[in-house]
Amino acid sequence: MKPSCETSSVSKVLHLGKDLLASNRQHAAANRARFDQAGVLVVNLLSSPGSGKTALLERTLGDLSSRWPMAVITGDLQTDNDARRLAGRGAPVVSIATGTLCHLEASMIARACQELDLSRLRLLFIENVGNLVCPAGYDLGETLRVVLMSVTEGEDKPLKYPLAFKSADAVVVSKTDLAQAAGFRREEALANLTVIVPQAQIFELSVQSGQGMDDFYRWLESALVSRCGAAVRH
């Protein structure tokens, strides 16, 4: 018998079944409990860099922050440029610089929330790191997840990055004012979305022209109403 066999005869197998994302899941559950208690609707925005997450928030804050108290947490690898773009629109903005990390984690959201008075908020947006891969795997404790794709990115984006799209409650097709110039094939994009993310609401909108914004706002409002109902029931 070879020595390696003898070694294996004294070895033993420990069955662990340890979830490697357990820590994030625990933080996410704690966040969710805090958000539930405060009755805040939390919307996590995911997209590749440049799809228009910040622009969508600029417009939404400008249009709605006088109606509902809201706040934003933004995540980027470096700079607080997005936070500065969003400042002065009637909503507090907390910036998280993730350094080299490719996504936001639930513990970072918990820390950022220490700078916010959740009890005074109705709506909290989380602008995730621009990345359509990694953020998809990290629950932040959000109520709803919105994934954006702009018309300039190609109709097959949902097919190329299915994991992110599959996790969406809603998909925003942004920059529709550029659709013609970009040669955007709308029907094909919508068909791809239907097949990858059949459960999602789809909003086609332009923050420049304002087209489609009202539908998005109505969706937020109905989510706020059902959130409020849930808070009352608790």
Partner: protein, 115 residues
């Protein structure tokens, strides 16, 4: 892109379990990686090779078990393993949003020894 961080978590958990069991060496790590986890097996192997020196798992073997996706069709209730990410039910063609399996990311087991 965050495979290094996940492998750090796995190695730390493996070492803790080994020490608790009175073992000095880790011979083998068994990880289960769902096809929907977004984790690249090759990147995980690279992370393992970079991180294992100086740990109890320095000479360990890494077994990666890829867990297939399993969906359930909301229309006809068929359980199926899709061939791609469109998750179309092979019986009735309805796109499925319901996945029963495929998001796993776990350290299933470690094989340890005293020396």
């Amino acid at each position: 892109m965050h495979e290094i961080g996940l492998m750090e978590t796995a190695l730390r958990a493996a070492e803790e379990a080994a020490l608790e069991a009175g073992a000095r060496r880790i011979q083998r790590l068994h990880l289960r990686v769902g096809r929907l986890s977004g984790i690249e097996p090759d990147a995980l192997r690279l992370a393992f090779d970079a991180l294992r020196p100086g740990t109890l798992a320095e000479n360990a073997q890494l077994d990666l078990e890829l867990v297939p996706i399993v969906c359930r069709c909301q229309s006809c209730n068929l359980g199926f393993s899709p061939e791609d990410f469109t998750f179309l039910c092979p019986r009735c063609g309805t796109p499925s949003a319901d996945t029963l399996q495929g998001r796993e990311l776990e350290l299933a087991a470690v094989e340890v020894s005293e020396a």
